[in-house]
Symmetry: C2
Subunit: 611 residues, 2 copies
């Protein structure tokens, strides 16, 4: 392996998240992270959903050159419906290198499988297929344990939320997961050639998920930084990762990413197909696209964005838009339709696409190629015409027992967001909605992670199952490592705000634990319970660096002389005493307290000793 990059070139971040401990639950060893609180709290550890995979497990040995262990391999083979076939030969054009010249190429992944899996003739290996037949798979069991997340502790808590018709269970059973998959209301994206993935569900009745996009473009980035970005994104909470690479080395870059990813990987196959025809959309053919699907299916991609709803008659509907067609896949297909004056081959060959999807269990992410690219174009005729077609295709995919989610906008002002959710639920039979933001205004380039987090939290509340993150670099450039983290944490908080508003039975456990820590000045617990403990502590230390301050009963907002939290402890003492004195009447209690305050000289100062 002398000619492969030194490991330092493929360095990724490992080790536990600050203040968290990896735990494995149940006989399937479902990975979660536990945050231990200060003993003074007398509270149990807070258990949080964990997307980071083995990278945060001190016990795990990480070897990027070898890839992750194959968690699901036995589950898949034990079903007895797959066969091993030789992997399709990798061709120069797969890496965007049409000539024999491989210069500028990246090292192929050293541990590529020579044999790959495929459904045996006449078999269908999708989770939906099993679900419809009443089979509860290990993947479904894994998801049930993963989603429950301390829910039992919340059972006594009153449900508080508005779920707009969702059906959040008090407790998630494997049977509930199976039923949601069978109905098409949820998906578990996990290609049989990606056994490294830890099963997760995307659906309105599960925790709201988030996706992070990575991928080199012809202008910047390389394989090492893309693998690092993937590991970095899942560390902070990305539930799935999309590899949107374009230009050269697409195939090899993807192999590095998939083999090292514990979360589902999504792609937009048309991007690679376009590279294979030198970037000329009208030269695309069904055969080239089909070959690309098989190529990526064998590598283990878990879901494909396919813009089969961009139909020839819809293209002119975008002519009067302020920002026309902003989806890359959408514009590729629009151009193809115009150039040939033919209906989209993706639309016409949809059944054949389904045949491929079900042979590997790849989920559809039906792309919104005509999504609005500006506030002005939101909810227009072109957008909804495509949505209705996606609904039609969803039913067709379900006839094949293929798993489906639907992509959504984009740029939508607040008052038009709910209409998107309502129309999607109605026209797509409650198939999971997967939106990009939406951005609620166009005037803040540089802050679009925030303009979009507003829309994302709202549409997540209304019922969207997964939110595709937006980074601060949106519209401006390619996100770097820091942008990826900011985007992921921003979307994690938006998704959590949505879970809270929906009335998810366990969501508030996290908020309440952090609020109690704040109220009791357990600074360490506050940091550790934050979605980003490192940043929380760093911000605190900028104004109060002293280690002592971490336990001090004040923060620099109020200063040491006065603190609003302290008074409340006195209010409680007062209320308690008032209750005791109830028999003699509250007034007596009042006077008693009044007297006590003066006897104690009830200071608002915090004694120097406490500082």
């Amino acid at each position: 392996m002398a000619d492969i990059p030194a490991r330092t070139e493929l360095k990724v971040t490992t080790g536990p998240i600050r203040g968290s401990r990896k735990v494995h639950v149940g006989n399937l060893g479902v990975a979660m992270r536990a945050v231990d609180l200060e003993p003074s709290s007398g509270e149990p550890p807070v258990v949080l959903y964990d997307t980071s995979g083995p990278y945060t497990d001190p016990e795990a040995r990480i070897d990027i050159m070898a890839g992750l262990p194959e968690l699901r391999s036995k589950w898949i083979r034990d079903r007895g419906d797959v066969e091993e076939v030789a992997q399709r030969e990798v061709r120069p054009e797969d890496n965007g290198q049409l000539g024999p010249d491989r210069s500028g190429g990246v090292q192929p992944f050293p541990n590529v499988r020579k044999k790959v899996l495929r459904a045996r003739a006449g078999h269908n290996v999708t989770q939906m297929h099993y679900a419809k037949r009443g089979i509860v798979t290990p993947e479904m069991e894994y998801v049930a344990i993963r989603e429950n997340l301390g829910r039992e502790r919340a059972l006594d808590a009153a449900r508080d939320g508005e779920d707009f018709g969702a059906a959040l269970p008090d407790f998630v059973t494997p049977e509930f997961v199976r039923d949601e998959i069978a109905r098409g209301r949820a998906i578990i994206p996990n290609n049989i050639n990606h056994p490294e993935s830890e099963p997760m569900a995307i659906g309105r009745n599960f925790l709201v998920k988030i996706n992070a996009n990575i991928g080199n473009s012809a202008v910047a980035s390389d394989v090492a930084s893309e693998v690092d970005k993937m590991v970095w994104a899942i560390r902070w909470g990305a539930d799935t990762v999309m590899d949107l690479s374009t230009g050269r080395n697409i195939h090899d870059t993807r192999e590095w990413i998939v083999r090292n990813s514990p979360v589902p990987i999504g792609t937009v196959p048309i991007y690679q197909a376009l590279e294979k025809v030198g970037g000329i959309a009208e030269d695309l053919t069904w055969d080239i696209f089909r070959d690309t699907l098989v190529e990526q299916a064998e590598q283990g991609v878990d879901y494909f964005t396919i813009h089969a709803g961009v139909r020839l008659p819809y293209v002119p509907l975008t002519a009067k838009r302020v920002t026309g067609i902003v989806s890359r896949g959408g514009s590729i297909m629009a151009k193809w339709c115009l150039a040939h004056h033919k209906e989209s081959f993706l639309y016409e060959r949809f059944d054949e696409i389904c045949e491929i999807m079900k042979a590997y269990d790849i989920a559809f992410s039906l792309g919104d190629g005509l999504r609005p690219g500006s506030i002005a174009d939101a909810n227009d005729e072109a957008q909804f015409a495509e949505l209705y077609t996606l609904g039609e295709l969803t039913k067709k995919a379900w006839e094949h027992d293929c798993q489906v989610m639907i992509e959504g906008p984009g740029h939508v002002p607040m008052h038009k967001i709910k209409e998107n959710m309502d129309k999607q639920l109605e026209s797509c039979g409650e198939a999971p909605f997967y939106t990009l933001g939406p951005l609620t205004t166009d005037v803040a380039p540089g802050y679009d992670h925030i303009t979009s987090a507003i829309g994302a939290a709202m549409i997540g509340w209304f019922g969207t199952a997964m939110l595709c993150y937006v980074t601060p670099k949106e519209h401006l450039g390619l996100p770097d490592r820091d942008d990826v983290k900011v985007g992921v944490v921003t979307y994690k908080l938006a998704a959590h705000a949505a879970d809270l508003a929906k009335g998810h039975p366990a969501a508030r456990l996290h908020d309440d634990a952090l609020s109690r820590a704040r109220f009791e000045f357990r600074w360490r617990d506050q940091f550790n319970l934050s979605l980003d403990p490192d940043t929380a502590e760093q911000y605190h230390d900028q104004t109060l660096p002293a280690e002592g301050a971490k336990t001090a009963h004040f923060c620099s907002m109020c200063g040491p002389k006065f603190c609003s939290m302290k008074i409340t402890q006195e209010v409680r003492e007062f209320a308690r005493l008032q209750e005791e004195k109830a028999v003699e009447g509250a007034d007596a209690g009042m006077e008693e307290m009044s007297k006590r305050f003066h006897d104690e000289g009830g200071e608002l100062y915090v004694p120097a000793a406490d500082r």
Copy 2:
């Protein structure tokens, strides 16, 4: 002046915002900023609301030692209802220095007025008083011009939005402003002793405003950095600034800020009163509080936060909360009530407070001392009990013709936000609502500008008139200069998203201009139209530093080979041609286009020349 700080110690940022030009409109010279677009756009300049005052005016001479010019001085005196009185003597305790020792004190502002203004006996100088008498003041005229902001250009555009019963006019007339002020639905906070302020309105039927908090605490900060923070905050869009200083030098710090501020300044007088009694809440008296109101009134503070709704019977309602009482003012008053077992002197002396407010035209910001400090405590009995009392006090203040706004939460999950707005509108007679966020989850310390921007945008849409910003340091420490900017820009975009959703007639002009610039690859126009041009350009340059790239028809997201925007120009050409050919039937047009694409070899590549 040898003993005063060198000017470099009080350096503030001056000069135009990148890509913007200061313009003065009408005979009152209302300040706005114009963004000139590239000639290729063929579009007029985009005129934006400008809170930055003379600091961004190249014509203006800035002298922090002298303070700003007195824009409103003549308007105030010409009304003939004020008299000059000697300013109250500044005492050591005003600066939190009870002994003769002034060490650690800051330099007094060199240009303090010896004489200050006050309403002549029997007169009332509030804008509401004039409005109720049918008088249109120059302040109202100024506001009308300022709020219209290119609205005439939007008159033909169809109104698009959901305003929940607000009454946004197609065009703002001085008479409309007068009527809103008279009804109490809007306020113009401008103390007659702050003639430097540029009139602005806070009301549901005007643009949504934002406030930035500054102020030293006993732990950090000093006068120079606070003045600089004020100038920095208004540069990026803060409509008002609250000085929340505690500890020493409160009086002198405030003088520096007020004399140099073109925006209304708000304070929480109880903070200073508490300092005057050495931090012992129960030692507070009406006389000390009253004296503090007069002291600050004479300095020119434009609105006072007064927690008169924290009544003795409500205090025990907070006993079972997760985070008790988190408002500093609220807990000071709660402690006072408990210690004396008496009703709040702020509540009982409310009429006397009104007498002071109307002698200087200081607006009430009725404080929400019992606001929730966590998701768990949102919308509880204590919070709403106080709100109803604030409604009762609003009517009382209106009987004195005092201007009033109402402060709101805080921490509220999305599904409970609208109830806050509905109850406030109902119980407070549509007096302007002024909320802090609200934060929609507690789990993201370090990102609370975002958790709160989500709630702020929503409640702004529902009808809140002003949004108090939250910085990334919230709950962790004192914001620095960078935090102030991030907080202001974040809230500016949230306020704008709210204006868009309400269907403000002019709001979309800004979004559409930026979207057209994006669509046409006018990078410079995109940067200049951003709420933060510096950050937008800097992010762009990180991946595409070449000056040439600024005019190139691609960005690093797609790379030079393919660009989704370009295709749309072809779609338009296609649609145009299709219409021409309509007589011969669309098909002919289709084939024609199909042929043309091939003749032109319709490339998706951008010729190297364009790069």
